[in-house]
């Protein structure tokens, strides 16, 4: 029986604007088991990053969580005060950001930044922290760790910075790692190395990883389960092989079809027509209906529910649920 490290229940995150509050994430529930990589996929603006920031409670000033629970090893971290949440960040749950070059403080040496985390959470002395930092740099596959320790971030390449970020995130042995598009800003060749590194580190310390990405190739490569988000809602979740073999939700189908294939012979890249609706002008029914080829009348009137199809599979679509009823 695998252990649920991170469980998010009915998370709803809203943003206050001048006029009204906008719902960026609505009723999102998912979990991450030990030793598992869960992918969170969606277009820009689908609420992936807001979900991850909500989990760490790092939302911008006008954002707030209006509903739901975030359970980290069975403790609801939404009830904690600022000090306790600070103790959890970095030590229990850590995050890697999209752009490694700007995630490091440009005026502090890399090594010192690595030491910060362990000195803070593991109460290491300077000497211990330094030894640990060098050990971590070595672990993420950088040669000459002592040398890199004394460098400034601008003296590192993008791939190296992301390695350092991973080292920093993992230096206090967190249970859960949130990786927010960790490879988007990197070269393709470096991407594979960084993904390999994340997998390797995951296997070594048996942590749970929540991988946020819009790259389906990365998902297929890395993840055990996938959650597809659209307009702040989960539209489909499934095991990775199931999802790619038999995508149920029209949005997922569209996403998979949009991956360019080498040698397909066509000059026109397939895409999903239309665009993600603005948060303030959400359609009433199914949020994807205006862009959906198969939309029926019901789709525009009534928002479908997220239906549990089998043990691992959920889908939010009228078409799928009606088909299911007919078959049954």
């Amino acid at each position: 029986m695998s252990i649920k490290l991170l469980e998010v229940k009915n998370l709803t995150t809203e943003f206050k604007t001048d006029k009204k509050s906008l719902t960026a994430v609505k009723n999102v529930s998912f979990y991450v088991n030990q030793g598992e990589v869960v992918g969170l996929v969606g277009e820009s603006g689908s609420g992936k990053s807001v979900t991850s920031l909500s989990v760490l409670r790092l939302l911008p000033e006008n954002g707030y969580i209006s509903e739901g629970e975030v359970l980290l090893s069975q403790n609801n971290i939404l009830n904690l005060d600022q000090k306790s949440i600070r103790n959890i960040r970095g030590s229990e749950i850590a995050m890697i950001f999209q752009d490694p070059m700007s995630s490091l403080n440009p005026v502090i040496k890399v090594g010192e930044q690595l030491m910060e985390c362990t000195m803070l959470h593991l109460k290491h002395t300077k000497k211990e922290a330094k030894a640990h930092a060098i050990e971590m740099i070595k672990q993420v596959g950088i040669s000459a760790p002592e040398d890199v320790f004394n460098r400034y971030p601008h003296q590192l390449s993008g791939g190296m910075s992301q390695r350092i970020m991973i080292a920093m995130a993992l230096s206090c042995n967190p249970k859960v790692l949130i990786a927010d598009e960790p490879t988007t800003a990197l070269d393709v060749t470096i991407q594979a190395q960084v993904l390999d590194l994340i997998t390797e580190m995951k296997e070594q310390s048996n942590i749970g990883v929540l991988l946020i990405t819009h790259d389906l190739g990365v998902v297929a490569e890395m993840c055990d389960r996938v959650i597809v988000m659209y307009c702040g809602r989960i539209v489909e979740s499934a095991e990775v092989s199931c999802l790619f073999e038999n995508p149920l939700h029209p949005y997922t189908q569209g996403l998979i079809a949009s991956v360019p294939k080498i040698g397909s012979g066509s000059d026109i890249l397939p895409y999903i027509k239309g665009r993600v609706p603005d948060l303030s002008q959400m359609p009433i029914g199914c949020k994807f209906a205006p862009r959906c080829d198969g939309a029926i009348e019901k789709c525009f009137i009534e928002e479908p529910l997220l239906i549990q199809l089998d043990n691992q599979r959920q889908c939010r679509c009228h078409l799928v649920s009606e088909r299911g009823e007919r078959n049954a």
Binding site: N105, E116, L120, C172
Partner: protein, 292 residues
Amino acid sequence: MKVNTEIKKKQEDYKFESPMIELSRKFLKKKVATVSFFFILFLIILAIFQPTPYDISQTDYSNTLSKPSAEHWFGTDEYGRDIFSRIVYGTKLSLTVAIVGVTVGAVIGSILGLIAGYYRGIPEMIIMRTCDVLLAFPGLLLAIGIVAIIGPGLINVVIAIAIYGIPNFTRIIRSSTLAIKELLYVEASQSIGVSDLRLLFKHIFPGTVPALIVSYTMRLGTAIITAASLSFLGFGASPSNPDWGAMLSSGRNYIGIAPHMLFYPGLAIFLTVLGFNLLGDGLRDTLDPKLD
């Protein structure tokens, strides 16, 4: 052999220059700023070692108001005191007053600016509106007002300069803080659980330092003028003290017969302030990566 050169190349790649050396090289390319830098260094040396040929309070009634000569380079004043010696001594007074005053102002102003920029909301409103009020006063008037309240004297001039400088530093540091707060590395440090205080001083403050250095240097120039003006008006150093402003003030009565009494202290003020301003300009060009 080929492998060897490759290894060597790799090792060379690892050698990086310290940013300090890079910046000083960039700075030394700016001729005017470099000259100002050495001029100010020279002033500081003068202030420390005090190479005064005569005692500053040694009077010589047989030789009053004499013109500049080989014996008295800058001439003598109404009591026959050597003006060159008094100006050299005045360097120490002016620089000390300016540096202490501006430093105190910079420290307090930076802390307030960091708080205002980081916490926003009510603290920011209180701090920034107070700054607006202070900045609404015409510069010197504020200093005169402060000295009028706490009384004349050099220490009080220092306090006046400090208070007068606070709102400027607060504004500059606040705006830098606002910009830096939004950078990803601040969020990244939050994500590993760094405390607010550490975040402010270890991660945000260093980013504001370039702006701080530039405005600090410029403020030194302004502070010297303010101190001299206060002394000139009789609010600062007592006339017996060889402060540049006080010397101008006592020379005022002899402007017709001994213009050198005004010329040299005035020149000292002018050159020092110019030096600080040009240095500040050069530092800004050096520290701002956008101005290349």
